[in-house]
């Protein structure tokens, strides 16, 4: 039953090509818009997910405030309030996987004639674990390097490229400020961070070396920041609360005194960024799908015209034995066919434009099979939904009235 009707629907569409094409245009634009919006939205989500996965998971940081000696806070005059001993104490808390005290700053690095300004991070080996940072050649530094403040450095990809070019950096001696450092390892690439910085534009050195030889802080044992990683995501809140209590106790803060440190949940910040992107991409898709409805109304409009124009044909078909459901099916098939053809064209057009956007702007786009499938499901639904009323109208015609129609 369906097969001869498909053929008829096809020839009906062919009989009025311009009209069918114009009717399809609404669907083409609607599906095209949805495909492009989904590609861009999913691309943005993908980019965010990539970035988040390079950051490391279940992370929060404790930033030091400033205080003068004696526990009285005084704006900026004193040294950092956090110490390596604080970090060691946090490491004893339940649920803590890694703790990395860090001291960082921007410094000139030099190798031969090459000169580069980069972020120098003094830290402990736990930092690499917390950030799930791999080493592509050589090795990282050890706890004993930290204890004896050796002059070794692990460099990021960007620094390796800018200072060493094609040369193998491991084993070479470079300088940070004036001090010579031996490169013992090169870090794996991580790309951009959430705030757009190049995470590979960095070098890691032992915390003690940083404090004594690079930053020259007068407050030995104090640090700017402590990075903490919990074992599981659901432990974040609890560990952060315990850290606050622990630090207040260690810093001997009375109940009426504010914290002399700040905490920031990096993973939560990343998650909320991801959620924002997700919401945005859903919103874009939703707005685009409104044009699908407009396309559907276009189909309904043309189908209504077609039913009126073909009233006599419907009468003839009924006179030779077409049942109501035969007529219904015939017009429904026509609507769905137009919808499908429009959808397919829209899909191709959308993919082409999305690829074009990617080629021209470098924006990340993701074209998923799900999106394509969704577009087709929508096309079928739109065809059936908006084709139903006209088809119903055709099927309900009275045979003799339809035959008399001129």
């Amino acid at each position: 039953m369906i097969r001869p009707m498909l053929g008829e629907a096809w020839s009906a569409m062919n009989a009025n090509r311009l009209r069918a094409a114009l009717t399809m245009l609404g669907m083409v634009i609607g599906v095209g818009a949805v495909v492009i919006m989904l590609a861009i939205g999913q691309g943005a989500q993908y980019a965010i997910q990539q970035t988040i996965s390079t950051m490391g998971s279940n992370l929060f940081i404790v930033l030091s405030g400033f205080s003068s000696s004696g526990g009285v806070r005084s704006g900026s005059g004193g040294g950092p309030t956090l110490t390596v001993a604080d970090a060691d104490a946090i490491a004893e808390l339940d649920g803590v996987a890694n703790v990395a005290p860090t001291h960082q700053g921007s410094r000139q690095v030099i190798y031969g004639a090459q000169n580069w300004s980069t972020q120098v991070i003094g830290t402990t080996p736990a930092y690499l674990d917390a950030r799930a940072w791999s080493i592509t050649s050589g090795s990282g530094f050890s706890d004993s390097d930290v204890r004896s403040a050796t002059r070794v450095v692990v460099i990021g990809q960007t620094v390796a490229e800018n200072l060493f070019g094609e040369e193998e950096p491991v084993g070479k001696t470079m300088r940070i400020q004036q001090s010579p450092f031996v490169v013992i390892g090169v870090l794996g690439a991580k790309g951009q961070s959430l705030d757009g910085r190049d995470q590979d534009d960095t070098v890691l050195i032992p915390l003690t070396t940083a404090q004594r030889k690079v930053f020259g802080t007068p407050f030995v044992g104090s640090v700017r920041m402590i990075m903490v990683q919990t074992e599981r995501a659901d432990q974040m809140e609890q560990v952060m609360a315990q850290t606050t209590a622990l630090l207040r106790q260690r810093h001997r803060l009375r109940d009426d005194m504010p914290d002399d440190f700040f905490m920031r949940n990096l993973s939560a910040a990343a998650e909320s960024e991801a959620a924002t992107t997700r919401t945005m991409s859903i919103l874009l898709g939703a707005i685009a799908s409104i044009s699908l409805i407009v396309g559907g109304i276009g189909i309904m409009n043309i189908m209504l015209v077609s039913v009126t124009e073909r009233t006599r044909e419907i009468g003839i078909r009924m006179a030779i034995g077409a049942r109501q459901r035969d007529i219904l099916l015939q017009f429904l098939l026509e609507a769905v066919m137009i919808s499908f053809a429009g959808c397919f064209t829209g899909l191709l057009l959308g993919i082409a434009i999305a690829l074009g956007i990617n080629a021209l702007t470098g924006m990340v786009i993701v074209i998923s099979g799900t999106a394509a499938l969704l577009a087709f499901a929508v096309a079928a639904s739109v065809g059936i939904f908006f084709g139903w009323y006209p088809a119903q109208k055709a099927a309900r015609l009275d045979p003799i009235e339809a035959l008399r129609y001129q």
């Binding site: 009989a15 030779i320 049942r323 109501q324």
Partner: protein, 232 residues
């Protein structure tokens, strides 16, 4: 006695018009047996087409009863009526009513589509019928490529394709010249010889002479019903 092909009792049909209800048929009684060849005559507006549309299950009566091959048409739903139009009777119109975008073969085969016949059989049977009406060589042409008389022959082939026992024709030669009309009537004659019951409406006496029985309408009533010379 076998069941009549057509049996109508007190059949009435009124149309709603601006001037009120208009009775186009007023209590018609008629019985047509299998194999009969009947011509309906009468002046314009006497209710012939109204009657034919009721016989063809295209319209429903306002009053009275209609039994088609023994089945009470008044009790049937739309799908059952569609089935009767498809299987039991074939209708031939004055204006041919072929579908213009379809080849002659597809036009003839269309009732078989609604009967659920497979494609190969549809083709084969449409071919046979087109050959029978002498138009086999035009099977793939569109209706507007052939003459009116040829179109009417295609319409008759279409009416026959599902092997109905009854052919209803409302002024089948009304749009045709006299020679072509004779050809069409020869076709009806041969169908009737094959045992198909035929009821046709005509204005013209020489057309009506092909039938074996003549029924005359006036003002929605049958005023005469007699055998013709052809019956003898």
């Amino acid at each position: 006695m076998t069941e009549a092909v057509i049996r109508v009792e007190g059949l009435g049909k009124s149309y709603q018009t601006a001037a009120g209800e208009f009775p186009a048929l007023r209590g018609v009684n008629l019985r047509v047996d299998g194999g009969e060849y009947l011509a309906i005559m009468g002046p314009s507006g006497s209710g012939k087409s109204t009657f034919m549309n009721l016989l063809g299950c295209l319209d429903r009566p306002s009053s009275g009863a209609y039994f088609l091959a023994g089945a009470n048409v008044a009790e049937m739903d739309r799908d059952a009526l569609a089935r009767l139009r498809n299987h039991t009777l074939g209708f031939v119109f004055q204006g041919f009513n072929l579908l213009p975008r379809m080849s002659l073969q597809d036009n003839v085969a269309l009732p078989l589509v609604y009967a659920g016949v497979d494609k190969a059989s549809r083709r084969a049977r449409a071919r046979v019928l087109l050959e029978r009406v002498g138009l086999g060589q035009y099977a793939d042409s569109l209706p507007n490529r052939i003459s009116g008389g040829q179109q009417q022959r295609v319409a008759i082939a279409r009416a026959l394709v599902n092997q109905p026992r009854l052919i209803l024709a409302d002024e089948p030669t009304g749009n045709l010249d006299s020679q072509t009309s004779e050809d069409i009537m020869a076709l009806f004659d041969s169908l009737n010889r094959d045992g198909i019951t035929i009821v046709l409406v005509t204005h013209e006496l020489d057309i009506a002479e092909h039938a074996r029985r003549q029924v005359r309408f006036r003002d929605g009533c049958i005023i005469s019903d007699h055998l013709t010379g052809a019956a003898a």
